[in-house]
Symmetry: C2
């Protein structure tokens, strides 16, 4: 197995708020971290195949984007600043109806390219034409948890179940384990009980988790209450959904009882502050969820409602939004925000061996160039990362032990090819001549 040594970095292992190794080194064998420590930790005779001089850099676990719709990059800035239903019904859905597998491949590639360039090493995706999405993940070298979105009230309801089954059989555990899969029932308001039961049967059959939107908007809560006399969380819980490992996206509008259920059922929550802000969906009670011990990670949501895939920005927005919302500047301190973007995210996706720099963990490591003016002076590396760093400060990205970006050049993707194809696909979608 190939051996990679990273030397001279300030290592932020995310094993504790005070854990920080100055002039540290990391040894990677195959796809795993085998050494982490101060200078001299890696034995002299270890024989690295490659060594990265990381002086001036900070090494930390790559970011985990817990919720996105990758190929929606094709719709970035196509429709903004509109009322939610007008945005969806008149702008987004008509275009999505015209998407082809090729569109999804290039849209997902653009998403992955942007994510790697901003330090994301793992993402959770829910969309369609998922074979194409998986091909993009396989080629690019990123890690992903993929789910075919399933809308029970759509004409494609049955097809989505069949595609999900085929998709899981084909891709779960593939790309050397980088690709895992979930079932992806869209949301309580689009999946009636009978449909959700079929979805659960699939999850049971293949022993996979469930990626679902939960309690995103006030309108959803009202609808489900009207239809079933309960909250969206109660609705899925009563159907047994939460007895599986669940990635619940958004969880904005929650009752005390909902929070109790999320905690008891160990639901992983994907908090998407920028999407929730931009669509005016509301503010999730994240400080309370964290205080109760619910595991909360961060996501960007799709690029049509963000409009970027920048996890540094998402951390910053989470930290700032909840401070002003609670009136308490000590809410979500910087280390907590970084935890949400790394360790917590891994757990939300059911991947227990990512999100820390520790022997035995997967080698998903980013190197941040801390020589930039906006990262001076050197008072606090964690606060700098969360409150001041930019995604363009990410210099090097290692995923599953392989260097996928070095000096900001992504090695696994032909950037110009992706951009040209994205522009072509997007042009066709919006009907350019």
């Amino acid at each position: 197995m190939s051996r990679l040594a990273i030397k001279g970095a300030t290592v932020v292992p995310m094993t504790g708020a005070d854990a920080m190794i100055y002039g540290g080194e990391i040894g990677v064998e195959g796809n795993k971290i085998v050494f982490v420590g101060e200078a001299g930790t890696i034995p002299d005779n270890w024989g690295a195949d490659e060594e990265i001089d990381a002086r001036g850099m900070v090494a930390m676990p790559g970011f985990v984007n817990c919720h996105t719709h990758a190929a929606m990059t094709l719709l970035r800035s196509y429709a903004d600043d509109l009322p939610l239903m007008e945005w969806l019904e008149q702008r987004i859905w008509p275009l999505e109806d015209r998407l082809t597998g090729e569109d999804v491949y290039w849209g997902t590639m653009l998403c992955i390219l942007e994510m790697i360039k901003s330090g994301t090493t793992t993402f959770a995706d829910m969309y369609f034409f998922m074979d194409e999405a998986a091909r993009a993940v396989e080629k690019s070298g990123i890690r992903a948890s993929l789910a075919r979105g399933m809308i029970g009230v759509a004409p494609t309801a049955q097809l989505a179940l069949e595609e999900t089954e085929r998709f899981i059989q084909k891709w779960n555990g593939s790309a050397g384990g980088r690709i895992t899969t979930m079932v992806g029932p869209h949301a309580p308001y689009t999946c009636p009980p009978e449909y959700l039961k079929k979805v659960l049967a699939l999850a049971e059959k293949f022993n996979v988790g469930i990626h679902i939107h939960l309690a995103e908007t006030g309108a959803e809560v009202e609808d489900i209450r009207k239809q079933y006399g309960k909250t969206p969380i109660e609705y899925v819980n009563d159907l047994g959904v939460l007895d599986f490992p669940v990635l619940g996206a958004h969880c904005v509008h929650l009752t005390q009882n909902d929070i109790r259920i999320l905690k008891e059922k160990k639901v992983g929550v994907a908090h998407n502050p920028e999407s929730n802000m931009k669509l005016a969906s509301g503010i999730a009670p994240v400080p309370q969820l964290l205080a109760e011990g619910v595991n909360v990670g961060l996501g960007t949501d799709g690029a049509a409602s963000n409009n970027n895939l920048d996890m540094l920005e998402e951390m910053r927005s989470a930290a700032l939004l909840h401070k002003v919302n609670t009136g308490d500047p000590t809410t979500i301190p910087s280390y907590r925000a970084l935890e949400m973007a790394t360790r917590n995210g891994g757990m939300v996706l059911g991947l227990a061996d990512i999100g820390m720099i520790e022997p035995g963990y997967k080698a998903d490591i980013i190197l941040i160039d801390f020589t930039k003016p906006h990262l001076y002076p050197k008072h606090d590396i964690i606060a700098h990362t969360v409150y001041a760093a930019q995604s363009s400060d990410i210099d090097t990205v290692i995923i599953d032990g392989k260097i996928v970006m070095k000096n900001r050049k992504v090695i696994t993707i032909d950037e110009q090819e992706v951009l040209a194809n994205v522009q072509r696909c997007a042009g066709r979608l919006v009907g350019e001549k």
Copy 2:
């Protein structure tokens, strides 16, 4: 006078939401814009001394940062996530007491370096050792409105008045007009009526505007009410402060009557969403202010409470925060946010000839590299700028007709010299051996 031509850019002149010139060109003579239009606008025989090939770039007015304390970059990430008074009294003020003129020079230089690299061409500063700040502005080529902060309840109250007088005499209109000055009474709660009257006498004597913090926190409003039986806005208005041109920073906690006063007195408001969020100060009623016709620009505040000087991020935060706060996703659409960061900002600083790309306006122009992955596909340039662009996309910055950054290299500042000195000064401040 030297002539500069910019050709092949998509020009966003900020003269109206639909004004956009594809493949446009801009002619600059001396420090002024003389031509703007489609290809062929600049006469063939005009004879430019320099021509910039701006294909793939978007040209727009540089950003105006309406409120900062520049040298506080020295305290960036020194103290975060703390209760406001603990942060100020135990962390920030003790360090500020130890600042020297040299510290302020290098801290201001770092601030300017970061601002130029993120597309800011003009800023409003309130701090002390302002001769040093002005020297940094002069050398760096940026445009600034500078005010010596004055605290009426401090032992330095009288000194601040004298320094302000000397400072205005020495610097107002200097650096070829790039430097303008204001008087800077810190805030209603630090400036008693008798002191404010002396400040007004200076403003009148030198015919300059007033830069003041107003209604930043709930505690301030309560204090002023207790002391004077009125709101901070009413307090300064009753003293005649608002009869001068006023740059009011923050304006978070306002009554309907306050808003009426701000409108009637044509107060320019500097909205600092990220600082207000991070310090949990509150959310300014910006949509209502804009609807009432109050002029609102954007500011970052000092780097100790943000922790960067990134106006693209500030625009994005403003647009997102007010959407979720009002529950209306149409609030502060992207063009409005961009207007706040450019045209409105110029007016807040009393500089009527910046913030647009129009003949007769000052040549403060930025070129944004739109070939980055996160700016694909090309649906909407304004939405891309506000919701997706990063400050590292700023390629070229022209201020007062001079190129101060090209291909991301700042020409007027020795970056390494600044960083080394900043680290040295900050180390001494926090007592490193």
